[in-house]
């Protein structure tokens, strides 16, 4: 097969730009900004990183592409481009909220690893080949493990990273085992070809084993019960901006590729037209195979995430358990397996990621001044830092799913898509009812945080929190984004639906 390197470079230009930016951040920090004060180093290198992300976003906006390179290893279509732009946006905000932090002297490395993790996610989004899926998953995970361990002065950070790494290594082994079984059954690494090869073989036990193992691996990445054990410790121990990135970017990319692998027949059809119908038929027939597995995981995640979050006293752990619960809601979107469900899932994941980054940003602000993230440290925050408190209120209410905010519409679209898919027999209705009931439970702990901020008395002797202007502006921007996506969800959903249509799902 002939490969045009130039063509490939053009297709992968956004990724290349981000890689070059990462290298630039490394080199600039090593050579020219080394002797400056840490704060300036963070600002200069952070600006380089942001410029790279913006350049990549602009490239994708200016040069929309639709191509399939190297037999599905790198697929660029409007849908993957939208998801990549969203990922870069999340990366941008992660970089911006970390600029105020003081946990490390290795600023160039920190930013470079964030960017390289983002590159891994971008390749992951574009992959329709199990080899590429695995390698980009590993690139992302490895960068995130190191990001979790970045605070070398804090033993909790090392513990968080070790737990994340050990669980992650095991999950990667399971994923690889599952993928190799899939390869053994079908003789192909391309998702579309796999679907076509499996079509006439029926649902045999080995395929179920492969599915279970793949679900297990992805379940770890999205922190769904029972593969969630790392999440609370990793979120709590890791430096706050790293935790924000683990909770947002990695989740968006993982859910997208999870949905893609599971709906293999629908997305894989794009590879070659012949496989399209055969492929989707094949996986329709397998839907009965993987839906129960995912349903069990979703139910457990929603129950355990919401119920355990109630008793948490550390805000980061609370967000971690709420993340587990949100993974449960999003799995309902995966189960709905339709083009519309993908749109709702991406909308949910992106708005959730944005909100979580904001929430972690507020935690970082409080943590920097009071040295811990206990609920008690938030007492009376509204009088000490009114702007930050207002932002936190918006994030918490959005996570809880209060109507004009983005979180509500995310849930609404996912549940609507699930009900529409199972319409004839209301197959997913019980899950949706459970999810709505559990979101009611989640109000309790989100409001608990707000109660501390707005109602509880200030601790004696507390003075006004000085929050840097940049930090306030960034948090404000994220909050405005959450409100805007909530009030005008069509901004994102419309684009997603159009691009899914264009991508031929």
């Amino acid at each position: 097969m002939n490969v045009s390197y130039l063509e490939l470079l053009k297709l992968a230009a956004p990724e290349t730009i981000v890689v070059l930016t990462a290298l630039a951040a490394l080199v600039v920090d090593l050579t020219s900004t080394r002797d400056l004060e840490a704060r300036f180093r963070f600002i200069i290198n952070g600006m380089i990183a942001c410029a790279g992300c913006v350049a990549a976003i602009v490239w994708m906006l200016v040069m929309p592409a639709h191509a399939n390179a190297l037999e599905g290893m790198f697929v660029v279509d409007p849908l993957t481009q939208v998801v990549k732009i969203a990922l870069l946006g999340l990366t941008l905000f992660t970089v911006l909220i970390s600029m105020d932090s003081t946990f490390t002297e290795h600023i160039g490395e920190y930013l470079a690893l964030i960017l390289l993790a983002a590159v891994g996610m971008m390749f992951l989004v574009s992959a329709e080949d199990i080899l590429m899926i695995f390698i980009s998953l590993e690139l992302t995970s490895l960068s995130l493990y190191i990001l979790a361990a970045f605070n070398k002065r804090d033993v909790n950070s090392a513990e968080a990273a070790l737990k994340y790494f050990l669980f992650g290594g095991m999950a990667a082994a399971f994923t690889l085992f599952g993928l190799s079984l899939l390869y053994g059954l079908s003789g192909a690494t391309n998702l579309g070809q796999i679907a076509a090869a499996l079509e006439d073989k029926g649902l045999d036990p080995l395929l179920i084993v492969a599915m279970v193992m793949i679900v297990l691996g992805f379940g770890f990445k999205v922190a769904a019960v029972p593969f969630h054990l790392w999440a609370p410790d990793a979120y709590q121990g890791a430096p706050t901006p790293s935790a924000a990135f683990i909770a947002s970017g990695s989740k968006v990319a993982s859910f997208f590729i999870f949905a893609k692998v599971m709906m293999i027949g629908f997305t894989g059809g794009e590879t070659n037209g012949v496989h399209e119908i055969a492929g989707s038929a094949a996986w329709q027939q397998f839907v009965s195979g993987w839906t129960p597995v995912v349903a069990v995981v979703a139910v457990l995640s929603m129950l355990l995430g919401n119920l355990v979050a109630i008793v948490q006293s550390s805000v980061k752990r609370l967000i971690a358990y709420s993340a587990i619960a949100h993974a449960g809601y999003m799995l309902i979107g995966v189960m709905a397996h339709s083009g519309e469900a993908v749109a709702s899932l991406v909308y949910y994941a992106v708005t959730y990621g944005l909100t979580t980054i904001g929430a972690f940003g507020v935690v970082a602000v409080v943590e920097a001044r009071s040295k811990d993230d206990q609920l008690a440290s938030f007492a009376g925050l509204s009088r000490r830092a009114p702007v930050v408190s207002l932002c936190m209120m918006i994030f918490m209410l959005s996570l809880a799913g209060i109507p004009p905010l983005a979180g509500f519409f995310g849930k609404f679209y996912v549940f609507a898509a699930a009900l529409k898919t199972g319409a004839p027999n209301l197959g997913l209705l019980w899950l949706v009812i459970l999810a709505i009931a559990m979101s009611a439970v989640s109000f309790y702990y989100y409001l608990q945080v707000l109660k501390q901020i707005y109602v509880a008395d200030m601790p004696a002797g507390a003075e006004e929190l000085r929050v840097p202007v940049l930090g306030q502006v960034v948090l404000g921007l994220i909050a405005v984004g959450v409100i805007l996506l909530g009030c005008a969800p069509n901004l994102l959903v419309g684009v997603l639906q159009a691009s899914i249509k264009a991508a031929g799902l």
């Binding site: 490939l8 390179a69 290893m73 390289l116 980009s136 490895l142 036990p205």
Partner: protein, 168 residues
Amino acid sequence: MVTDILFYVFAIATLVFGALVVANPFSRNPVTSAMFLVLTIISMAGLFVLLHAFFLAAVQVLVYAGAVMVLFLFVIMLLDLKEEEQRKIKKTGLVAGLVSVGAIVAIFIRSLLASEPSRGLGDPQLEGSTFALGKLLFTDYLLPFEIVSLLLLVAMVGVILLSKKDLK
């Protein structure tokens, strides 16, 4: 015929040595485990030879059985082994491990029995030469190849960062 016999010899050797790496009834010394890991890797190299993947077999022996295992042994010898040797096996851990292994084995036996014997991929069309491998790496598998280089960069940055002592 000969290759069939050799396949079973190497396959059984891989499995037996692999089991001895994690559960050796005679010795609890980590160095013994590491040595059995070397034997496992060499038996796997034998399987690669049977598949005509000579280059892969050579790399397997050189890199894994050679370089990587030397590092393993270094690390093992730097750690305190006495404690590990005297550590008692926990009963709950043992039972849980056996149950999960049993479950996986049962699933595999069941699925092997359920699947038709003729299935599988047929004769592999493997070309094990470095020429073919290099050509593939720079055409069909160019992108994964490049991403692996990024992966190594990340690993390198991470190792230097985490192993270096912060002076402040």
